[in-house]
């Protein structure tokens, strides 16, 4: 099997899904990128980061649609086209831009099915970039998926590797509910083995990337890479860390988390989002409410601080939860439970 980057996996999936179903269309700013230019190609770019490269050439301008800078109209049009029978894949270049189109996401697309009494279907996929680490500054670096996870009617996908990105994107495009597909920009060049043929990965099914006994580490998107590193490092000391990658935040595979905590008795959650009302808080609270009896130690959350993302590369590095911070949280939780075990035992 060939190694492919996340970027390649996504690009390939878009092409395969468009071939598979003529109702799939792609729209967004510069998704062809070259319309209205003076060179002889109308697809000069294929998206700012090349994610949609080749699609315009293969599928033409009525299925690969360059738009003006007009996020509300992009998302709104995707919603309307979906109600009218298409399966649009809209690109919201950076998730930070939800500020100019959230209404169409939150009050329209997400609610159509419910507020129309179950009689409307809105198979929209919104692809968007998340995350810090590229020096893109305070308005282009957010990991805002909690803001959309909280919205009823949306499904939210946060793939952590190329294999998952391909299978989850296919699922997203074939799903009849609206899906937010969050691509971490720092993962685009990460590669792993990815089959050429298409396949799907169900939503709401976590991936256990490391099996372990002593502590459960739930991590999202890019944080899964860091969590795996922590698990590998601690394994050398005989500390056995179970890493759970939920893959989707909504639906969330609660059972996988409960099962793991049932075994380990300890939980650390890693989330690149700001701390308040984060996925870290969500997962921690779920366990504190539903699996309290299993807990042998305080839960630990490792998140970005309650600050915007600074432009300075060093500050930005400090902003993102690091391997070191995750490791120390894991050690703290183990220590705490020793203390507790000692106290009660």
């Amino acid at each position: 099997m060939a190694k492919k980057t996340v970027r390649e996996a996504i690009n390939e999936t878009l092409a395969q899904e468009m071939r598979r179903d003529p109702r799939v269309i792609v729209l967004g700013e510069d998704v062809a990128g070259g319309k209205g230019g003076t060179s002889d190609t109308e697809e000069a770019a294929g998206g700012v980061f090349g994610l949609t490269a080749g699609l315009y050439k293969e599928f033409g301008g009525r299925r690969v649609i360059d738009t003006p800078i007009t996020e509300s109209a992009i998302i709104g049009a995707a919603g309307g086209a979906a109600l009218a029978g298409m399966r649009p894949v809209a690109e919201l270049m950076f998730i930070d831009f939800i500020g100019v189109c959230l209404d169409q996401i939150m009050n329209q697309i997400a609610k159509f099915r419910y507020m129309f009494g179950g009689k409307a279907t809105t198979p929209v996929t919104i692809r968007t970039m998340i995350g810090a680490g590229m020096g893109a500054g305070p308005q282009h670096s957010g990991a805002l998926y909690p803001m959309l996870t909280m919205v009823p009617g949306l499904k939210v996908v946060v793939p952590s590797n190329a294999y998952d990105a391909k299978g989850l994107l296919a699922t997203a495009i074939r799903d009849d509910d609206p899906v937010i597909f969050c691509e971490h920009k720092a993962l685009y060049t990460e590669a792993c083995e990815v089959p050429d043929e298409d396949y799907t990965i169900p939503f709401g099914q976590a991936n256990i990337t490391r099996e372990g006994e002593h502590v459960t580490l739930v991590a999202f998107s890019r944080m899964v890479l860091f969590a795996n590193q922590v698990a590998d490092r601690l394994a050398r000391e005989g500390i056995s860390v179970e890493v759970i990658d939920p893959r989707t935040t909504s639906p969330l595979d609660e059972d996988a988390i409960f099962d793991s905590v049932d075994k380990t008795g300890r939980l650390v959650v890693v989330d690149e989002s700001n701390p308040m009302c984060s996925m870290a808080s969500e997962v921690a609270s779920l366990v504190a409410c539903e699996a309290f009896e299993c807990l042998r130690a305080p839960i630990a959350k490792v998140t970005a601080p309650h600050t915007p993302v600074p432009a300075h590369p060093e500050l930005e590095k400090e902003y993102v939860p690091s391997v070191a911070k995750i490791e120390s949280a894991v050690r703290r939780v183990l220590l705490d439970s020793d203390v507790k075990a000692a106290a009660t035992g």
């Binding site: 998302i75 709104g76 919603g79 309307g80 109600l83 009218a84 298409m86 169409q104 419910y114």
Partner: protein, 322 residues
């Protein structure tokens, strides 16, 4: 005048149904039988009627919070609408949407919408679907004078213009956005000119004149269906009642309201014209009036008596599968 007798009767019926419906809703609301709050369309009926006569079930409209008339004109079932306004099981949205969210995909009705300016991008999406698939379908968005100020509406205009979509923007200038007059809130004072700036035809017509709207719409639809791109129409017609039912309208003078009642009745104007031209007779229209009165009487009674949705309904239909 190129309208057949059938078309004239159809147009009249669509208008009368809207009038009868919202006048009845007004009385019911005052009597306290209607949940939530409602926005009446009285005075603007010719716009929806004349516009929707040109549309098929496979064409789409996007509507507003003041959507009863649009729904009726687009062919939504009146009984199911009433069930919805009363939030009952079997309503067009099974009671979860209410007056401000009535929708019917089978009739190309993309939903009333409680967010001002949200429907035009959605309707543009329906136009984009037709354009992408190469059908001759069209879409139309109703837009209030107040909504004409919302950024989303301009984005919809521009996207439709850039892609040359089969789209019609129907501005309904009824003079007010809630309690604030269009004279104040429309910068530059000319709503149609806003659409014109995107290079599309944008005539301004008397929205109480069924025939004027009908003609403008004929041109816009022809243009859209033949792939020539979007159009806009500004139809001017005063709102008869308050912003929502119960609004005391302290911002409107007695004289203005009298004048509206005197000169702002599209049904009266229609009747006068068709009689003067001898296209129809009083009895043609009286029969429709009678029929609709009975229909709505009956359907209101049914709606009031219908069962509420189960409590379980709170939790269903969030997703198709989760």
């Amino acid at each position: 005048m190129s309208l057949t007798r059938e078309q004239l009767l159809d147009g009249y019926r669509r208008m009368r149904a809207q009038r009868e419906f919202d006048e009845r809703m007004r009385r019911e609301f005052e009597a306290g039988t209607v949940p939530g709050f409602i926005h009446l369309y009285c005075g603007q009926e010719a716009i929806a009627a004349a516009a929707c006569m040109h549309l098929r079930d496979t064409d789409y409209i996007g509507s507003t919070h003041r959507g009863h008339g649009h729904c009726i004109a687009k062919g939504c079932d009146i009984g199911e609408m009433l069930l919805e306004i009363y939030c009952k099981q079997g309503g067009l949205c099974n009671g979860k949407g209410g007056s401000m969210h009535i929708a019917d995909m089978n009739k190309g009705m993309l939903g009333a919408n409680a967010i001002v300016g949200a429907a035009p991008p959605i309707a543009v999406g329906a136009a984009l679907a037709a354009w992408s698939q190469g059908t001759d379908g069209v879409a139309l968005a109703f837009i209030g004078d107040g909504a004409s100020n919302q950024g989303t509406v301009f984005e919809a205009l521009n996207l439709a213009s850039v892609l040359k979509l089969p789209m019609i923007f129907m501005y309904e200038n009824n003079g007010y956005a809630e309690f604030t007059g269009a004279k104040y809130h429309v910068g530059g004072g000319d709503i149609a000119a806003r659409a014109g700036a995107f290079g599309m035809p944008a005539p301004k017509v008397d929205g109480t004149d069924f025939f004027a709207v009908h003609d403008a719409m004929a041109a816009a639809v022809a243009r859209a269906r033949s792939g020539q791109g979007p159009s806009a129409i500004e139809a001017v017609a005063s709102r008869w009642y308050g912003h929502f039912q119960g609004d005391p309208q302290a911002y409107r003078s007695r004289e203005e309201l009298d004048e509206v009642r005197r000169s702002g009745d599209p049904l009266k104007k229609f009747r006068e014209r068709v009689l003067a031209e001898s296209w129809l007779e009083d009895s043609d229209m009286d029969a429709i009036d009678q029929e609709l009165r009975e229909l709505i009487d009956e359907k209101v009674a049914v709606a009031k008596a219908a069962p509420n949705p189960d409590t379980e309904a709170l939790y269903t239909d969030v997703y198709l599968e989760y």
